[in-house]
């Protein structure tokens, strides 16, 4: 499949996974980014903030094997990696039966990941770093594309902090704010758990992983280095390992945007590679100029969240507008009204976010189309 075809397939998976979730599209998109980059994500937030739901939906869309577990202080390694094969044990061989367990998963979610025992975390390190499971006489390559860890908070223990560093992307989630509660209630009531697997999704993901390895990063390395210097100057330090691995995230963002040559559009993942929430907020401000061009057709919400940039917002609004304009609102008055209000919401944000006399290129043609379409579908008078 072509790069654009594979990126388009992932885009569909991401969009389907986001449908019905409120303010969790960044989480979904970062899981996809990590998968393409062959890295892992740490989601930090209070219980009940849809961390597991976001990952489940990506996993469903990708198809393949999914493993999810809630770790506790007394969780045994066999609950994660599989039980010891008793038949083999009788023969003096310590092998693990990994069927349906994490070593055979394509996508994994480990809730309360820092509660795992030393035995679990040590074995997990090998799976995360090398995609290799080793235990006793068992040594196998793991098909794992991405592991998402979740926790209520970052660990204070330095040993656990070192383990947390293996998750290159960190996203900090808060409960849905008050103004969005009605949206949350409506979405939660009608949330479907059946976003279907796209038949080509895993193959497309693997194509993108391969393509990401070949991305031309030469043009952006100076900008990336400058961004790191700006952060260091403000006391935000990234380990050398993180700095080098950032390039994987930039490359992944590039291919998910359908390109093979990285540009300054693709530097925004740097924000999510910063391990602490306060530092991420400072980084958004410090890197405002560096990330000015940020945008991504597959990961628009994440690019916009990282960069605070108008370009990413313009791209997101363009996509939202195109989707709505492509829909036929039909004859049902309620459906027409809902569709119209959504389209009004898009143009309201366009007019509020961009000066009318100098719209960004992404929105120049689409605004007049929205105005015309709204004129063609007048709003019915609501019952008083």
């Amino acid at each position: 499949m072509s790069l654009e075809g594979s990126a388009s397939t992932l885009r569909t998976v991401i969009a389907d996974a986001c449908a019905g979730l409120v303010q969790r599209d960044v989480a979904v998109q970062l899981v996809a980014l990590a998968a393409v980059a062959r890295e892992h994500v740490l989601l930090v937030g209070p219980p009940g903030t849809a961390k597991s739901e976001a990952v489940r939906r990506v996993a469903r869309g990708l198809g393949g094997n999914y493993f999810e577990y809630l770790l506790g202080r007394f969780t045994e390694p066999s609950e994660i990696f599989g039980p010891v094969d008793l038949e083999k044990l009788r023969q003096g061989v310590v092998e693990t039966r990994t069927s349906d367990m994490l070593p055979e998963a394509d996508v994994a979610f480990l809730d309360e990941v820092f509660l795992g025992s030393t035995a679990i975390l040590n074995t997990l390190l090998g799976v995360l770093n090398e995609r290799t499971f080793r235990r006793g006489h068992t040594a196998m390559r793991c098909p794992l594309r991405v592991c998402v860890g979740a926790s209520n908070q970052l660990p204070d223990d330095p040993a656990l902090a070192a383990f947390a560093d293996r998750f290159l992307l960190h996203l900090f989630l808060e409960p849905i704010p008050d103004p969005e509660l009605e949206t949350l209630l409506e979405a939660g009531w009608s949330l479907s758990d059946t976003n279907a697997a796209h038949p080509e999704a895993l193959a497309s993901l693997d194509d993108l992983i391969d393509a990401a390895r070949g991305v031309d990063l030469q043009g952006v390395r100076p900008h990336l280095a400058e961004g790191i210097r700006i952060l260091r100057g403000a006391g935000i330090r990234l380990s050398d390992r993180r700095v080098v691995k950032l390039q994987r995230l930039v490359a992944a963002a590039t291919v998910l945007d359908g390109r093979t040559k990285a540009a300054t559009d693709d530097l925004w993942p740097i924000v999510f590679a910063i391990p602490r929430p306060g530092d991420q907020d400072r980084a958004r401000d410090l890197l405002r100029d560096t990330l000015q061009a940020s945008r991504n057709v597959s990961l628009g919400a994440a690019a916009e969240n990282a960069s605070l940039g108008p370009r990413a917002r313009a791209e997101r609004l363009r996509i939202a507008a195109e989707e709505l304009l492509a829909l036929d609102p039909g004859d049902d008055a309620t459906a027409r009204s809902r569709w119209r209000l959504k389209l009004e919401g898009v143009i309201r944000e366009i007019d509020a976010a961009f000066p009318l006399d100098s719209p960004p290129a992404e929105l120049k043609d689409i605004r007049p189309r929205i105005v015309q379409r709204l004129a063609e579908v007048p709003l019915e008078h609501a019952a008083c």
Partner: protein
């Protein structure tokens, strides 16, 4: 001088919409649009109105859209001042507010400043929208 000191730029970061303003010919369109809302939606908005200027305040999702309106933000540094969302003051907002109040001592906060239209108005008298009063205002604009 006001226009030169208050350039328009795309919004960076969170977009916080606190209200919407219509000036001149757009007033009719905005009134016609808002009158299509049910009474309970109207009650969720407050506003001030005159034939040449209408300002509605309320949650972003509840604010209507018509072509030509101007969306407003409340300046975090000077909550008594509302500016168009894309307008960035080259002086601290509280300085701008003090300058406006100094020039117009009779005005009471909160105040909306619309640089492109060279208009400003007090929103002190903003009250919940009332269908009958909106209809009256609409008639007075010649709709």
């Amino acid at each position: 001088m006001l226009r030169a000191d208050l350039p328009d730029r795309p919004v960076e970061g969170a977009l916080e919409i606190a209200g919407v303003a219509a000036v001149g010919a757009v007033v009719q369109s905005l009134l016609a649009r808002v009158l299509l809302e049910p009474d309970e939606a109207l009650a969720g908005l407050t506003g001030v109105g005159a034939p040449s200027l209408v300002v509605l305040l309320g949650p972003a999702d509840a604010l209507p859209w018509v072509d030509g309106v101007v969306y407003l933000r409340r300046c975090a540094e000077a909550p008594g001042l509302l500016l168009p969302t894309c307008t960035r003051a080259s002086v601290p907002p509280r300085v701008l507010l003090e300058a406006v109040l100094g020039r117009h001592p009779g005005l009471r906060v909160p105040i909306v400043v619309l640089p492109r239209h060279e208009m400003l108005a007090s929103l002190d008298g903003a009250c919940p929208l009332d269908r009958a009063r909106l209809e009256q205002l609409r008639e007075s604009t010649g709709a």
